[in-house]
Symmetry: none
Subunit: 413 residues, 2 copies
């Protein structure tokens, strides 16, 4: 019995019939000889990431696929982003997602993204991280992509029960943080945030970097809009649940975050950007390297299929799927299907003609040791639905896979 | 419309691809013309006894298949064993599973099974059943197989909330029963058990049968290790739920127990041992006799497939499946498929190469009056998965079957 699983999730790969393709889906139309080979030697089916018809956010879909019920487990986006960008979030810490934004002289938001591109978050982060708050509260800010970043508060008696600063529109001032509950901790945390924001605004307004931006005609990044206060969730890590070593190989911070949140080791790969230019080959090489080491489960995430679908780029989606197929085929050829179960699926459909996530079921294939093959020979939405896995839920995937590597415990009375 | 169902459960029959069989499963490889005929005239599918990927204990799987949610219904093993061996367990009674064991002169357990074989439990039972306890508590002990037995306490204000006597290892004395809760009843019950065990030890130590065992160089069965205190569960019997008469034909006490626990009449068949030498033909004859009488549902359990799988006996498993097929075919030929629905499945997979229960789905076929056939012509894990039943849960089987004999009530607002 093998005890290795490579789980490949192609974000938003599933689609609907496209008239331009004679009613075929992009996955059906693409050249995917290796995915088809997986279908031929393995077992196919369709999966409802959350439940039939529900269009999932990528975070919720991944949580479900990792075996956690997203309708029950509370996991905040602030926490996921923080974990995803490599910040340590301990019990009691409060994590926020945040945007650099531009305030005018009257304190009104004129750009929620401070121009979006070319913001040197690192320079500003240094200033923010030097802020000293009363009561021993520590502030850690880390810029991520473009205008985005994550902020973590550490200290005693902090509460995530506070409202957002970000009003999600321009022409108004940022909001004040307010306690959502009547507890002392929530009240205190709201006060701390409001004090912190004042400090941040003061520091950013006078920061030489912003003065230069103004001189160059760029909107200054002179405030931070915080949102999504959240704490470390109380979940049993996947590694403990199934007694495995698990790792995530992904470009996007959110996916590293969800993987990290359930206990996977976050492994960074050079050039893994989560965009069309990503280093797919490098990601597969790293995944197989981890499987050759002591890792039992490697979750490999490919984001760009979803981006292309959101952009309605039909040709781009088809070409990118074929590109994944080539790299997948080459990587697996060099490793061996005798030693590892490969499971390939999507976290949701993003039909190119819709341009956003939909609640369609997604095709899934699993192949490798212990898996009984069926008579499906092509990997697509249409073909996989005929497979022997029939129709499963996202929540069931992890138990099904863990069963094949002998990691499920007997259910007894 | 027929109102007869023969439900045949071949314990642990489902399996995985076996290299030695060219990737076929034992069920695929075995000669099963009659099972295939059932598939041809009936409707196939796959079933997850508990839920996808979960390896079930046989007790939990059977409860689910009988329509009771094993994640919600509490049914103790002590109770199941007691019912299975024919003891009446009433509300308020406490049932225990127990082992004859051997204590040395210092009261240390030296053999948890008192030599295991050739113990004349009946002789010792007589002595144990003569014990008089204070407070009108009645003791009923019944030996079952080898060193095993069941003990039931009857009286007022007894509680199942007591710890085990059996330490599950040798080299230590038996434990004292302790109350698990602070209630008066639990405290009193623990005291009663400790007094009872003292009495049992005294009687067994001096029993002529044990003196003979010692003379013959055999370990004396000089104590009883009790465990799994449990009461009659609060469940609505299957007979009331569906307004049917139901019976169980099984060799193993556990299966008789689960059947009896949900209200089936336990019907014993001579030579039905639950082993490879079992009287399969006799069991089928009896089942059909019951169906010809007023019984609507007969549950026929065949255990040996599971034993052979646990032993990794590939040839034995294949041969035994073929043997079941022959007997099944002959029995049904003599009865008639026009008069009865036959449903054939397994309670879980026990892959021969794994040697223990796994969480794979199991194949299922139902054929007979009111059942729409599909285009599946072979009964196996691979073929059944293509059938029209698709993928169901164990919990759904009873409503599906009862629906075909008109026993389901309308669900209305």
């Amino acid at each position: 019995m093998s005890d290795k699983i490579l789980l490949i999730i192609c974000d938003g790969m599933a689609d609907r019939p496209v008239r331009q393709l004679g009613g075929k889906t992009p996955l059906e139309f693409a050249e995917t000889p290796f995915m088809d080979k997986l279908a031929e030697i393995g077992c196919c089916g369709i999966m409802d990431p959350i439940s039939p018809g529900i269009p999932p956010g990528s975070d919720a879909a991944h949580l479900a696929i990792f075996g956690y019920d997203p309708t029950k487990v509370k996991v905040g986006r602030g926490y996921l982003e923080a974990v995803g960008c490599g910040l340590e979030v301990e019990e009691g810490d409060i994590a926020f997602r945040c945007n650099f934004a531009t305030l005018d002289g009257q304190g009104i938001i004129v750009d929620r993204r401070a121009g979006r591109k070319n913001i040197d978050g690192k320079v500003l982060a240094e200033a923010i991280n030097n802020i000293k708050l009363a009561g021993g509260i520590e502030v850690t800010f880390k810029p991520t992509v473009e205008h985005r970043g994550v902020l973590v508060l550490r200290g005693e008696n902090l509460s995530p029960e506070v409202t957002d600063i970000d009003p999600h529109r321009i022409g108004v001032p940022p909001m004040k943080a307010k306690p959502k509950t009547l507890t002392k901790d929530a009240k205190r945390t709201a006060e701390i945030i409001n004090t912190l924001v004042k400090e941040i605004n003061k520091i950013l307004a006078n920061h030489p970097y912003n003065k230069e931006r103004v001189k160059a005609g760029l909107p200054p990044a002179n405030t931070l809009l915080l949102r999504g206060a959240s704490t470390k969730p109380k979940i049993k890590p996947i590694t403990e649940k199934y007694r495995i070593k698990a790792a995530v190989v992904a470009g996007g911070a959110l996916y590293k975050g969800v993987g990290g949140a359930v206990g996977m080791k976050i492994v960074n790969v050079e050039g893994a950007t989560g965009t069309v230019d990503t280093n797919i080959a490098g990601k597969f090489e790293k995944a197989i390297e981890l499987l050759k080491e002591e890792y039992n489960l490697v979750f490999l995430h490919i984001k760009a299929v979803d981006n292309l679908s959101h952009d309605g780029d039909l040709k781009g989606k088809i070409d990118f799927i074929s590109r994944i197929d080539k790299v997948l085929g080459k990587a697996v050829e060099e490793y061996s299907l005798d030693r590892c179960i490969i499971c390939l699926t999507a976290d949701h459909a993003t039909p190119v003609e819709v341009g956003q996530h939909s609640g369609d079921s997604v095709p899934i294939v699993m192949a490798g040791p212990q898996i009984l093959s069926d008579n499906i020979k092509r990997f697509s939405e249409r073909h996989a639905a005929q497979g022997n896995l029939n129709r499963i839920r996202g929540m069931h995937l992890m138990p099904i896979l863990m069963n094949f590597i002998g990691r499920m415990e007997l259910f007894e009375l």
